[in-house]
């Protein structure tokens, strides 16, 4: 009998005790598979995983893995993305032709991703300084670095938003339920001023490159270089909400900030400097290794072979490879404008790095492309070490360089020229010296061929415009440079006029007769070899044993008209995504859409 009753009484006892005392505790189930902010930000490893989460949106297809690196920076006067029509404003062609519609999915996904990055950074910026380890103890440096990284990441995300969309909503604290999410647009100058402040703080929190393990995480060089870059944009021209392109009257203040940051960096050559060889910098990306000079100061790390955390660099762009047993496959979606090919001096080593005028097919041999179809060359699948032959692999782990030391030198030169002129030294360096350092490296040390830049401010500025043109081709920089100089329309028109002139007269007496109408080449060890000069008229008869390819004659009016076909001044910005406006009535569309 006892045995029978015991369970009953136990059950009653449980019931009573639950009902009375421990009701609250009983219902308080703690999540153990996932972490609350309090748990995450209670130690360094948690905070580190949170900052990795904040880095995450940089990579992947919607980030710098593809859209931000290979769709957004084109068309420009250097290269074109996905030539052939504008797809009625949809997709990547809509963006490249300055014809994008607000419903373009490729406009929406990076917008969402950048704000996701901002939210994740905001969370770190809020919680990390509240950690006990922030102010004392052995983990202090590590925790402070995380804070600095979060500030820098947020700056990068905002920088990308502002240069593509202009004034944008600017949440600076983590989102919470109940707040008004319908933020209006904040003036770009205000956002940039915040970023300059943030980065001034961030550079006091992060270490120099040499003080920590070598990887893609942000160090002081990256912070300073980004601050310089943002200052240059803050002082540059931009399309305003009133539909006008203008620059602030006090722009020199910002050029000064940029110059000073660059100067600091130039005084710390042990951290970052130029590689002796221009090619080395890009070979290192394709060979998945670090270059010795650490010329790449800030880059997006790619890996994992997924569309979320890897890149399509070298698959989407680079020379087109079809069904190559050795190299696999790539799309060759970014093509070089013929004028850009001939913007390089014949002795400039940068041309053959920046431009890959060949395709690779099933024989694994290169074949010369026409002049109108040459590909960008800094990310090439055939350069990868080790090679990947599987055609299904689209992610090559190529990092995206955000800022190189060459940019620091040229920003210094540009700012110093504007502030003081080309030959006035700041901290012992003149603008001319800085420019020449970049240019001479491009000419492999051949100072004679590199020449000397003009000595007047305006002439020197033009030299800067040209030097940045040939130095940064295909690195997602040119279009935005032209916008901040208010030269985009001019340069696009100039390029089209030049191309039209090239084909207008195809006779031997044409002023452009030196650009051959046809090129002949042979294949040696699988590589193309030009049989005749790129800078002399082609011979009338085909040299024996060579293959001919249309060169200047490949340019057609259709192709010229296609370049940035929808461009007008007020298309310098992308449309605010339609769904962003539907969900937020306070958002006003950009002018021109």
């Amino acid at each position: 009998m006892k045995r029978i009753f015991r369970p009953t009484f136990v059950a009653v006892a449980i019931a009573c005790s639950l009902g009375v005392s421990s009701c609250k505790d009983y219902l308080d189930v703690k999540p153990t598979a996932v972490d609350t902010p309090e748990t995450i930000f209670s130690n360094v490893s948690g905070a580190t995983s949170a900052i990795i989460g904040a880095y995450d949106p940089l990579s992947g297809d919607a980030g710098y893995g593809n859209r931000l690196s290979s769709y957004y920076p084109f068309d420009s006067d250097e290269m074109q993305s996905s030539q052939g029509g504008d797809d009625a404003g949809a997709g990547r062609r809509g963006i490249a032709r300055y014809a994008s519609v607000p419903t373009n999915a490729e406009v929406l996904s990076p917008w969402n991703l950048l704000y996701q990055g901002i939210e994740r950074s905001n969370i770190c910026i809020k919680y990390v300084p509240e950690m006990a380890q922030y102010n004392s103890g052995s983990d202090m440096a590590a925790v402070r670095r995380i804070h600095g990284e979060a500030l820098t990441l947020r700056a990068q995300y905002y920088f990308e938003l502002v240069r593509n969309w202009g004034d944008v909503p600017e949440p600076r604290t983590p989102s919470v339920t109940g707040q008004d999410f319908n933020l209006p647009r904040t003036d770009r100058d205000v956002i940039f001023d915040h970023l300059l402040e943030d980065l001034a703080l961030a550079q006091t929190l992060v270490p120099w490159r040499s003080e920590v393990a070598s990887d893609e995480r942000i160090t002081k060089g990256a912070v300073k270089a980004l601050r310089a870059r943002i200052a240059m944009y803050r002082g540059g021209y931009s399309l305003r909400q009133n539909g006008q392109v203008s620059r602030p009257s006090n722009y020199k203040d910002f050029y000064t900030i940029a110059r000073n940051e660059c100067s600091d960096l130039m005084a710390n050559r042990g951290q970052h400097t130029l590689n002796a060889s221009y090619e080395e910098t890009f070979r290192s990306i394709n060979e998945l290794r670090t270059e010795a000079a650490h010329e790449i100061m800030f880059q997006v790390g790619m890996g994992g072979a997924s569309s979320a955390s890897d890149s399509k660099l070298g698959y989407y762009n680079g020379p087109r490879i079809t069904a190559s047993p050795k190299y696999g496959q790539s799309s060759g979606a970014v093509t070089v404008l013929p004028t850009y090919f001939y913007a390089f001096d014949s002795l400039d080593t940068r041309r053959d790095v920046t431009i890959a005028p060949y395709t690779i097919g099933s024989t694994d041999n290169q074949a010369l492309t026409t002049l109108i179809s040459a590909y960008d060359g800094k990310f090439r699948r055939d350069w990868r070490v080790p090679l990947i032959s599987a055609v299904s692999v689209q992610s090559l782990n190529y990092n995206w360089p955000l800022i190189r030391f060459a940019d620091v030198l040229l920003m210094f030169a540009e700012a110093q020229n504007d502030i003081a002129g080309p030959n006035v030294a700041y901290n012992g360096v003149t603008a001319t010296q800085a420019l020449l350092e970049v240019r001479v490296r491009g000419f492999k040390g051949n100072t004679k061929a590199a020449g000397t830049p003009p000595t007047d401010q305006a002439g020197f500025f033009n030299a800067i415009v040209n030097e940045r043109f040939v130095e940064f081709g295909g690195e997602g920089i040119r279009k935005y440079d032209l916008i901040r100089w208010n030269l985009l329309g001019t340069k696009l028109a100039e390029t089209k006029a030049t191309l039209r002139a090239w084909i207008a007269d195809q006779t031997a007496s044409s002023p452009y007769a030196k650009i051959p109408l046809v090129m002949y080449y042979t294949v040696v060890n699988g590589q193309i070899k030009y049989s005749r000069s790129l800078y002399r008229p082609a011979p009338a008869t085909k040299p024996t044993g060579t293959t001919n390819v249309n060169w200047r004659s490949s340019i057609t009016e259709v192709r010229i008209a296609d370049i940035a076909s929808g461009y007008t001044t007020n298309r310098q910005l992308l449309p605010i995504p339609a769904s962003a406006i539907t969900t937020n009535p306070n958002l006003v569309q950009n002018p021109g859409y």
Partner: protein
């Protein structure tokens, strides 16, 4: 101390009994039918607790107090009888079988009540009704039998998911499954862990007045299952067994050899030179009129569907039960073994189930019992649509239907029946691989082990006051093994490096449930009061572990791979193995208190009030606790004086009215806190090696609360002719509010959506049930049972939105656009797409001008939708309606093209008995719903690199785009000349939902026909059998439907309730021919 006191009380009680004057009485109880003795009949002296039960010979003996007394004889299934005994010492009684279903007991939440006293809407099925359905799935046995309860098997695979919906289901984003209570204990997915042979009765509580007692878990209805128990008296050993074959009910006709070659050639020609080269590589020529091709046209056709689904799948089920009991104790042990082959080769299902139930009356006041269940089941074979809810992109049904349909007669060509890998064909057919080889190389095994224990104890403090405690514990372990061997097409893609890989997912779910209930009943004069007060706790935690191993040795077999997952092929890349992952998919607790009071006056006016308070760990702060009140009222009109005159006709008539609230807490855990998760895609590569990060992926909402259903019900129960005919009608209007919706918020917040409680849906409906004994003769009885339900679902509100963003069923992954529409004022389940309008004919074109077809002025082009974006449509292209009339067919021309909601559904069961023969026929039907036949869209399309896949037979009559010589037609005359009798368009170059694929899904299914014969007693007794019945059953014999796909009862996209009715790559259904026997000893 208390215990001692109790024992003392008992002793006192016994002493009192002993002191009275007594006498003995004995007798035999028989059935009025067939004159059988009845063992286990309860005999009580009326007005006392003195009682006995009859033994195996139907005899009882008992000692009763002196003086006159009346004995009450009661027995389940028979009409109770009161017999005054006067001075007799021996009395023989005959009990007649009960046709009054209204006197059944119904379990309505912690308490059984007489059906006549029920004030809510309840549908019930008894063992009697399902005994003729020899099936292995309890859910299948219930299909069509309960008004207002829709049971949809998602597809035909043994052991596949079954969707049960009570009155439509109110939630549009969350799980609408009902709550299951087995013998008083909440059991998840009870229908899949019970054998139909073990079920005594199923009661489905449909309105909130009945379900509110289950509070936050009651909104989707409550299915209360009572398992069989033994009876006091004779030990009964029964064996129920059946065995038979299943065979596919329907196949899809595909193109035969010659037509296939035309089709493949035409598509190759359309695709261009490379495709024609590929055609030549395979079939030896690119000349359409060549002898080489002519020779191959004569090659015999290979019917892949027959090879894969054509077998006669054997199945057998054995159920052995031993039940019985001594005085005050009953028990039942049941052992079930199922063994079922799927019709698809290498698929099948085995299950072993042990169910033991024990109940004991320790004293007049104290009862206890327990029930334990052990299940061990394994489902083998890859389904055609993958297990569970989401992706079917790895479907293998397509392989089977459109794989290369013949073996080329050319020397040296690949013979597909030799089970060779055919990479060329794979590349040129949209990744088709040999279906037989694929199935052999894609091993799937889904094992489930379940242990379930429940115990209960009750104590009657007084005649009026009782206490009952129930404890339930459930432990379910699942393990899913998947292996893709060397010839699996899956390993060709992804990161598998062409090497076999395996995955093992194990999961464990532990639930604990305890309820304690006090009941009090009181009766005085015309007033009768029942009260119930209780509390309950429920907790559940589920964990899982997922392990994958890649790059296994190329030729390894599944068994060897699972036994040593660390093996690697020498060609394995240096890439890291995927890391194991764990997850806690559910972890929550529920603490509740509840009360119910019923009052009846003169047995005429019945009132029930219920309230339950639920505290849940799923919510935060003030939302943690929810209250769910309900009230109902019933008026037994038949008790009124004015009805007395017709009481011979109307034996019972009751009007019911109810109103109440119930909640749905089948929602995720921890949604209220911002939570950092790892894994998934939160990662960043540092030095090209992925470093896992963590981030909050969703914006937590601390204000979340339950979805609440307000339900109103009006019901009428009538029984006629001494309960021979019963009729029940219910009308209801349920409104579910505070729906959990992922509302789009500005993405500048860092999140695209947030889960919030907004919006409402409603379900209105009418349910009719009738049952009756149509003929009751000496030798022949005919009983009939029918039900029909009408439900209208409507989205009442979506908060600030008028419609949700279009929903993706995703049957073709990202290759198909959004295809479901949800808007205020409309039902859930609207299919959305283009309106099919035939095809473009030569008459629509001006001509072929400058290398391009040119449409006539005013004819809208759908080139953007149908996949001709760079050029123009051509004669033969599918034509879609320019709905908005803007001169171009684009996304704006999509409209609602179908509705998955049936107008009505129901079932009709007829049972006949003639002497020793019995027969039953069961029909179920659904009317007025649409089915989205996605297979049809896919099988009439021509996607990139799929020129060599086969098509379904209707494509034979397509509009031709090549001429007699195989050249692409580029003039109107030829196009016109070759296509006078075209019946369908040239295959579409894209997948898009269009109205042609939306079909009427109405059907009438001859679900079951059974004929049985019970061997006469005179014979069975000779072999010591008390009963022997043999029967033959045909399950799913025939379906009357206009639906052109495999079966109209299908639902393959189950990840959200918003995309019902998609038929994509469902495992085909089968019919079964079974022979079975019921033996009792």
């Amino acid at each position: 101390m208390k215990k001692h006191l109790f024992v003392l009380l008992l002793l006192l009680h016994a002493a009192l009994l002993a002191s009275a004057q007594q006498r003995a009485i004995q007798g035999v109880v028989r059935s009025t039918e067939k004159n059988e003795v009845l063992p286990g009949v309860t005999v009580v002296v009326k007005g006392t607790t003195i009682g006995a039960t009859t033994n195996s010979e139907g005899m009882f003996t008992m000692t009763i107090p002196a003086g006159d007394a009346t004995l009450r004889f009661s027995y389940i299934g028979f009409v109770s009888k009161d017999v005054p005994i006067g001075n007799k010492t021996k009395i023989d009684v005959e009990l007649s079988p009960d046709s009054k279903a209204l006197d059944d007991v119904v379990v309505i939440g912690y308490q059984p009540v007489q059906r006549r006293d029920v004030t809510g809407a309840v549908s019930s099925v008894s063992a009697q009704q399902i005994k003729d359905i020899p099936v292995n799935s309890a859910a299948e046995a219930l299909n069509g039998r309960l008004a207002g309860v829709q049971v949809t098997a998602s597809e035909g695979q043994p052991g596949s998911d079954v969707r049960v919906r009570v009155r439509g289901g109110g939630s549009i984003t969350q799980d609408n499954s009902p709550l299951y209570v087995v013998d008083g204990v909440q059991v998840e997915n009870a229908l899949s862990v019970l054998s139909p042979q073990d079920i005594q009765s199923v009661d489905v509580l449909k309105d909130a007045s009945a379900t509110a007692i289950y509070g936050a878990r009651g909104a989707n209805g409550v299915v209360i299952i009572t398992t069989k128990n033994g009876r006091e008296g004779k030990t009964v050993v029964s064996y129920n067994g059946f065995a038979g074959f299943r065979h596919i009910t329907k196949t899809l006709d595909v193109l035969k050899t010659s037509d296939y070659l035309d089709y493949a050639y035409e598509r190759s020609a359309i695709a261009g030179a490379d495709a024609l080269t590929s055609f030549k590589n395979r079939f030896g020529t690119r000349n359409y009129t060549s002898d080489t091709l002519a020779l191959q046209r004569t090659a015999p056709f290979i019917d892949w569907q027959d090879k894969v689904f054509g077998r006669d799948a054997f199945q057998q089920t054995h159920n052995l039960s031993i039940s019985g009991g001594g005085k005050g104790t009953t028990y039942s042990l049941s052992l079930t073994h199922n063994d079922e082959d799927g019709i698809q080769i290498q698929s099948g299902y085995t299950r072993n189930l042990v169910n033991f139930r024990f109940d004991s009356k320790a004293s007049d006041k104290f009862r206890y019992g327990f029930n334990t269940r052990f299940l061990d089941q394994a489902i083998t074979g890859s389904g055609t649509s993958s297990q569970g809810t989401s992706s079917t992109t790895n479907t293998r049904l397509r392989n089977t239907i459109v794989y290369l349909p013949f073996a080329s007669l050319l020397p040296g060509s690949v013979d597909p029946t030799n089970l060779n890998v055919d990479d060329d064909f794979f590349a040129a057919s949209g990744s088709l691989s040999n279906p037989v080889l694929t199935i052999q190389n894609e091993y799937r095994k889904d094992k489930r082990r379940l242990f379930n224990l429940s115990a209960n104890a009750s104590y009657n403090f007084t005649k009026n006051l009782a206490f009952r405690s129930t404890v339930g514990f459930d432990n379910t372990n699942n393990r899913t093994d998947t292996f893709n061997g060397q010839f699996s097409p899956t390993i060709k893609g992804g990161n598998y490096s062409g090497l076999p890989f395996l995955g093992i997912t194990t999961s464990q779910q532990v639930t604990f449930n305890n309820s304690n209930v006090l009941t009090y009943s009181f009766k005085k004069g015309k007033h009768s009061v029942d009260a119930l007060l209780g509390h309950e706790i429920y907790q559940q935690r589920a964990t899982s572990l997922n392990v994958q191993s890649y790059y296994l040795p190329l030729q390894i077999t599944a068994d060897r791979a699972f036994d040593n997952i660390n093996q690697r092929d020498p060609a394995a890349p240096a890439t890291q193995q995927p890391a194991p992952t764990t997850g806690v998919p559910s972890d929550y607790r529920l603490l509740s208190g509840f009360a119910r009071a019923t009052y009846s006056y003169e047995d005429k006016y019945l009132f029930t009030g219920t309230v339950r308070g639920d505290g849940s760990s799923k919510f935060k702060g003030k939302n943690k606790v929810g209250y769910f009140p309900a009230a109902s009222f019933a008026w037994r009109i038949s008790q009124e004086d004015f009805m007395k005159s017709i009481s011979n006709t109307v034996s019972d008539m009751k009007l019911r009215l109810s109103y109440g609230l119930a909640g749905n807490n089948r929602i995720g855990d921890f949604l209220y806190d911002p939570l950092f998760t790892t894994g998934g895609n939160i990662q960043y590569a540092v030095n090209h090696t992925i470093v896992p990060g963590s981030a909050a992926l969703t914006l937590a909402n601390p204000n979340l609360k339950w979805e609440t259903t307000v339900s109103r019900n009006l019901g009428l129960d009538i029984s006629l002719f001494n309960n021979r005919v019963q009729f029940t009608a219910d009308a209801y209007y349920n409104k579910t509010r505070d729906l959990l919706l992922n509302l789009a918020i500005p993405s500048t917040s860092g999140y695209a959506t947030q889960l919030v409680n907004i919006g409402a849906t409603s379900n209105k409906g009418l349910e009719l049930q009738a049952s009756g004994t149509i003929i009751q003769g000496k030798d022949f009885t005919w009983t009939s049972n029918a039900n029909i339900s009408f439900n209208r679902n409507k989205v009442e509100s979506l908060g600030p939105l008028s419609e949700l963003p279009l929903q993706y069923s995703g049957w073709a992954s990202t290759a198909i656009a959004a295809d479901y529409y949800v808007a205020v004022g409309k039902p859930v389940g609207l299919m959305y797409g283009y309106v099919t309008d035939g095809w473009y004919t030569a008459d629509d074109f001006e001509g072929y001008i400058n290398g391009k077809w040119k449409l006539k002025e005013g004819i809208a082009s759908d080139k953007g939708v149908t996949g001709y974006s760079s050029t123009e449509v051509n004669p033969g292209t599918i034509k879609l309606k320019d709905v908005n009339g803007d001169g171009v067919v684009n996304e704006q021309d999509r409209t609602v093209i179908g509705n998955a909601n049936p107008k009505f559904s129901g079932g009709l069961n007829q049972q006949f008995n003639y002497k020793n023969f019995d027969a039953s026929i069961f029909l179920n039907f659904v009317y007025g719903n649409d089915v989205y036949n996605a297979n049809k869209i896919e099988l009439t399309s021509f996607l990139a690199n799929s020129q060599l896949s086969n098509g379904i037979a209707i494509m034979k009559d397509r509009y031709r785009t090549i001429d007699e010589n195989g050249a692409i037609i580029t003039d109107l005359e030829t196009s016109r000349r070759l296509n006078p009798n075209a019946k369908i368009w040239s295959p579409a170059r894209q997948l898009f939902p269009h109205s042609w694929a939306i079909e009427d899904g109405s059907f009438l299914r001859v679900n079951n026909i059974t004929v049985g014969y019970t061997v006469p007693k005179t014979i069975t007794q000779r072999v010591k059998l008390s009963q022997a019945r043999f029967y033959v059953t045909l399950n799913n014999l025939y379906t009357f439907t206009k639906y052109s796909g495999f079966d109209p009862e299908v639902n393959t996209r189950r990840s959200t309730p918003l995309t019902p009715g998609v038929d994509y790559a469902a495992y085909p259904r089968s019919k079964a021919y079974l022979f079975g026997m019921n033996l009792s000893f």
